[in-house]
């Protein structure tokens, strides 16, 4: 009797229709795709995107050229050269981050005693040549100016955990 039932069940494709019902339900389920350039997924305040060099509100660079970030960088993406400026203060003459080497671990930002180098939420900086992916000091400072509001907010939210 049970074998007869099995034969009828398999000829009516009972189990297969069970499977089809599952996919049939998903046909009308809400879609999870994010239409990327138009829509973006939400970001954490600790999002680690492109780096930025920050300034104090009076316009002075925060960076004190201690080279801790260079030392902390596990992929040796940061290159720093130092010279005293006209006031005799230690100052970077060169601060390059090679974005092809960078692994966005955030160790540089963690190592920085002055919160000068930070990682912003900006991540759309693709380029067509390798040279364009080496971010120089001027570019990083400019990125810092552009994102300062967001950086300050994110750092403020993270402050009590540091």
């Amino acid at each position: 009797m049970s074998s007869m039932k099995e034969i009828f069940g398999s000829f009516l494709l009972r189990e297969l229709f069970g499977g089809l019902a599952v996919t049939g339900r998903y046909l009308f389920a809400p879609k999870t795709t994010v239409r990327y350039p138009e829509e973006k997924i939400p970001q954490s305040p600790r999002f680690r995107g492109l780096h930025a060099l920050r300034r104090y509100p009076d316009g002075e660079e925060r960076c004190v050229a201690c080279k801790l970030c260079e030392a902390a960088c596990p992929s040796m993406a940061i290159t720093i050269e130092i010279a005293p400026d006209e006031n005799g203060k230690r100052c970077t003459t060169r601060y390059d981050i090679d974005m092809m080497k960078c692994i966005f671990c955030g160790f540089c930002a963690e190592a920085c005693p002055a919160d000068a180098i930070v990682e912003t939420r900006f991540y759309e900086y693709s380029a067509e040549s390798r040279d364009a992916l080496v971010w120089t000091k001027d570019m990083l400072l400019e990125n810092g100016e552009r994102c300062e509001e967001q950086i300050a907010e994110d750092l403020g939210r993270d402050m009590k955990y540091r």
């Binding site: 000829f11 297969l16 499977g19 996919t23 809400p30 879609k31 999870t32």
Partner: protein, 349 residues
């Protein structure tokens, strides 16, 4: 219409006019068919995407509607690589062998009462003969590629196609027993009468209900016959490699067009043989081509649905299903139907 015919005959002479008129009809069938093939690929990607809670292609044009054109253009611009040591002419002829039957078979498919390119009496026989030629495309493609993988893939696909052709042929035999004709138009018309048709619910008197086991066998066989998932051993892109391993560019796309064209063809044949062709499902609606189109569409969507749902069969399971299940079932039901037709309870008088 008659005026046009008269005018054409006067202009071209009867013989030339007949050729021209037939060619025009062929174009009228083939061009929309090619358009359907193009948009079937889009529909497939959309439906499978939706079933996986994705959106499917939506970048080219509104809702991705120009995606097939972009795909076609891309394949057109790609190089056709002919492997060294390949039999060049056979290599290039194989895709044609595979697409020609899928198009030629449309000659006998009736779209409405009497609307058919070639209203021949042996329509079903022609269909079985011409669709069998498709297997040559597979074998020749595998053989001429000068590659062991392609060769083995071709052999495997040929064995699969031939096995399921037997099951398919036997199920068609049952259909022609009950409809008493090999003409597809007559087969459709034979489904329009009977007890249920008289009561106005004619969809119950179509062949799928009295021949239900054969209908199931046929539907599964056409999935296997068109090399669709879960029987897509021919393609097997993730674990075993199929006969079109060495093909690229337009030659490769011809195999794909052939696959989708034969999908549409098999859906049309299934609609005609089992689902009443152009007949309307309820007596209160008029018959017409739109019913055939709707039935073809439903069968095609079920193809895609099946592909989105089931994992691929193992090869020995494919062979077991074909030889040990489908063929015996068809032969048994042939006997049952034979006795049923001779008995006083026959529904086909």
């Amino acid at each position: 219409m008659d005026m046009l015919r008269q005018f054409g005959q006067d202009m071209l002479g009867p013989a030339v006019f007949m050729v021209a008129a037939t060619l025009a009809k062929i174009v009228c069938i083939t061009l929309p068919l090619m358009l359907c093939v193009a948009y079937l690929t889009l529909l497939e990607r959309k439906i499978i995407g939706w079933m996986q809670t994705r959106l499917g292609p939506n970048r080219v044009g509104p809702f991705g509607l120009f995606q097939p054109l972009a795909d076609g253009l891309k394949l057109l611009l790609k190089e056709i690589v002919i492997p060294s040591g390949a039999d060049k002419w056979v290599f290039l002829a194989a895709p044609v062998f595979s697409i020609a039957p899928a198009l030629a078979a449309w000659a006998v498919v009736p779209f409405d009462d009497g609307v058919v390119l070639a209203d021949i009496n042996a329509g079903l026989l022609y269909l079985m003969a011409i669709t069998s030629v498709g297997v040559y495309g597979v074998v020749l493609a595998g053989w001429s590629s000068n590659s062991r993988y392609a060769f083995l893939g071709g052999m495997r696909s040929a064995a699969q196609l031939i096995s399921y052709e037997i099951a398919m042929g036997l199920s068609l035999v049952v259909v022609l027993m009950v409809s008493n004709s090999l003409n597809l138009g007559d087969i459709v018309n034979a489904q329009g009468k009977g007890l249920f048709a008289g009561m106005g619910v004619s969809f119950l008197s179509w062949n799928w209900l009295p021949l239900f086991p054969v209908f199931v066998v046929y539907m599964v066989s056409i999935v296997a016959e068109t090399n669709r998932a879960p029987f897509d051993m021919a393609e097997g892109e993730s674990e075993i490699i199929g006969f079109h391993l060495e093909y690229s560019g337009l030659a490769f796309s011809l195999f794909y067009v052939a696959e989708y064209a034969s999908m549409i063809l098999c859906s049309a044949i299934a609609s005609i043989l089992f689902l009443g062709g152009w007949l309307s499902p309820l007596g209160c609606f008029p018959d017409g081509f739109h019913w055939l189109a709707a039935k073809i569409f439903i069968v095609l969507v079920s193809f895609l649905w099946i592909r989105a749902t089931f994992p691929r069969y193992r090869y020995d399971q494919v062979m077991r299903l074909g030889w040990k299940v489908f063929i015996p079932v068809c032969i048994a039901w042939m006997g049952v139907v034979g006795i049923w037709m001779m008995s006083p309870w026959s529904v086909w008088k």
